[in-house]
């Protein structure tokens, strides 16, 4: 099938430019600045997120280097605070979220048989808001008073005590939020309006479903975050007292608003990760996804339930016992649909014809470790336990099992899975497997021991600690440097494959059955599905 056809019509009727007569990708730098092609924009999102992943990773290594020994050795406590803050902000908003938006850009049009995203120019703007946001975030370090060491949650009243670095951070969050909202509008419109004939909602690949649900979540909660940081901004500069107790405000209000955004945010990160894994596991089990309809329903209900559990992040802040009990029960119950999904993935593999290429290894790593992160979440949902463990390394271990072993492993699985399709080149399978095992071992080296540090009472976000914690911290730090170096191997694998990888086949994985594998050639043409396929 030749997808490079001259009758390419701009997706928007009012577009007066005639840029439909080129056959392939334009050349030069301006290609990337002005592109409206979903594949180009997807690629930029993925590279941006990888760069931010390395930046946030260096910050993590700074934290771990300081914690190699008790006492203060490498950085000042103030700088340590900025490291924990910007590591969190950059990894959540700069690395993981854009990575999955990159997958969405690349894959949603291909999976539903659409020629591009619904609003290609808005798509371009969604991406190009990110680099200024990243620069704004990093510029905080150069301002008087340095960056804001308030924690990624940006709690009041700390935020009112910071220098101008706080303001650049707030504006960066605004830009990131705008980008996410526009991306979500684009994704929802594309999925609802641009499916190929015959591609009914319940025939859509699970990845597309997960992004539809995630996009609604983003539209619901990003304005809440924007509101919270805007109120912080007006408290700082315009004399309001939303969160200032001295002026009649309430700092705890900030926490409620933040976590009303923050808990759905966890699912905004996790649900697209579920989507990637739901494509990878069936492909390498050579079986359809077990319980597809249940998965769609369960993902939707997880999205709804994610709005009613936010205060489990705030048990120790002070709330009535009835409130604690309510949030405890709700949090424990939300584990049920999530647990069912884990069983569905396991059932997909049951009696499957399994092979263990790199994408499958990362998907299985996700399955094991995300489940562990889910269980420690269940432990923390119990109020009496959480009162003991809040702000300890147990919490740090828990959410890194969800964020790194959940979202990051899933993103790695996705990159290895679709890389041959995207580039037409095959990566080095042996090196990919080495990357997986190094990542898996070092990840557990960093974070498994942190459970015990937390149980023993080591507080998080503190640059010093009691000498009794030294050995486990040293294990964790060595693991962190190993993990960081392993990601350079990932970069090498990608660059090597792009430069000299063997040509990939149209259907590189014989169990893959979505449209991009069955209907499109490899390497991927610049324009695809100008004539929609008919899905039976």
């Amino acid at each position: 099938m030749s997808a490079v056809i001259d009758n390419h019509a701009p997706a928007h009727g009012h577009d007066s430019h005639d840029h439909g007569d080129h056959h392939g990708a334009p050349h030069g730098l301006m290609r990337w600045v002005t592109t409206t092609n979903h594949k180009d924009i997807g690629t930029m999102y993925l590279w941006f997120s990888f760069i931010m992943f390395l930046v946030g990773g260096v910050m993590a290594l700074t934290i771990r280097a300081e914690l190699f020994e008790p006492g203060l050795q490498i950085v000042s406590p103030e700088f340590f605070n900025t490291m924990t803050t910007y590591h969190g902000l950059i990894m959540v908003f700069g690395a993981i979220m854009p990575a999955f938006v990159g997958f969405a850009n690349w894959l949603i049009p291909l999976m539903i048989g659409a020629p591009d995203m619904a609003f290609p120019r808005m798509n371009n703007w969604s991406f190009w808001l990110l680099p200024p946001a990243g620069i704004l975030l990093m510029s905080s370090f150069l301002l008087p008073g340095g960056a804001a060491g308030v924690g990624w949650t940006m709690y009041a009243p700390l935020t009112s005590q910071m220098g101008p670095g706080m303001d650049t951070t707030i504006f960066a969050v605004h830009l990131l939020g705008m980008s996410s909202i526009m991306g979500s509008i684009n994704i929802i419109t594309t999925i609802l309006n641009m499916r190929a004939p015959g591609m009914t909602m319940m025939k859509m690949p699970m990845f597309v479903w997960t992004w539809l649900i995630t996009a609604y979540l983003l539209i619901a909660v990003m304005p809440v975050l924007a509101g919270a940081v805007t109120m912080t901004l007006t408290d700082r500069h315009f004399g309001t007292s939303f969160f200032n107790a001295a002026g009649g405000g309430d700092p705890v209000l900030y926490q409620h608003i933040f976590w009303f955004f923050g808990h759905p945010e966890v699912y905004i990160i996790a649900i697209p990760a579920f989507g990637v894994v739901s494509q990878v596991i069936p492909a390498f089990s050579r079986k359809p996804l077990f319980g597809y309809a249940s998965m769609v329903y369960a993902t939707s209900s997880i999205a709804i339930l994610s709005f009613i559990v936010w205060a489990h992040h705030m048990y120790t802040v002070g709330m009535p016992v009835a409130g604690q009990l309510y949030f405890m029960y709700a949090t424990m119950l939300i584990a049920v649909p999530t647990g069912v999904k884990v069983f569905n993935w396991v059932a997909t593999m049951w009696k499957g014809s399994l092979t263990f290429e790199t994408p499958m290894l990362f998907a299985l790593g996700f399955l094991f470790l995300f489940t562990l992160g889910g269980f420690t979440g269940l432990v923390l949902s119990l109020v009496p336990v959480d009162v003991q463990l809040q702000d300890t390394y147990y919490v740090v271990a828990h959410f890194h099992y969800v964020m790194v072993a959940g979202a990051l492993f899933s993103a790695f699985a996705g990159v290895y899975f679709w890389f041959p399709k995207w580039t037409g080149k095959m990566y080095d399978e042996k090196l990919g497997k080495i990357h997986f095992w190094l990542t898996l071992v070092f990840f557990n080296m960093i974070f498994f021991v942190q459970h015990f540090l937390g149980l023993a009472g080591m507080p998080r976000r503190i640059p010093d600690y009691n000498p009794q914690f030294t050995e486990f911290n040293q294990i964790s730090t060595i693991g962190a440097f190993g993990f960081g170096l392993s990601q350079l191997l990932f970069l090498y694998i990608l660059l090597k494959a792009i430069k000299s990888g063997k040509p990939a086949e149209q259907k590189q994985w014989d169990g893959a059955d979505t449209l991009e594998w069955t209907h499109l050639p490899t390497p991927m043409p610049y324009h695809t599905f100008e004539n929609p396929p008919t899905v039976k």
């Binding site: 249940s294 329903y297 939707s300 339930l305 009613i308 029960y329």
Partner: protein, 71 residues
């Protein structure tokens, strides 16, 4: 399709669909039935109402437990 039209599902069928979604388990036959009889709007409205009932139920349960502990 055999006389059944979208939007003609009973309230019970809608509640059953949404509750099975909350648990995360749905039979294929049940899903096929839903696809014929339910519209997305019905499912979403029932889902949001069920979530509200779920929240209220949990709040009542929490209050009941506290009041019974106090007495």
């Amino acid at each position: 399709m055999d006389g059944r039209k979208p939007g003609k599902a009973s309230l019970l069928a809608m509640v059953k669909t949404v509750l099975s979604a909350f648990v995360g388990i749905r039979r294929r036959s049940g899903h096929d039935e839903d696809a014929v009889r339910l519209t997305p709007v019905q499912i979403i409205v029932t889902g949001v109402v069920a979530a509200a009932v779920f929240v209220i139920g949990l709040i009542l349960l929490a209050r009941f437990i506290i009041s019974s502990a106090a007495s």
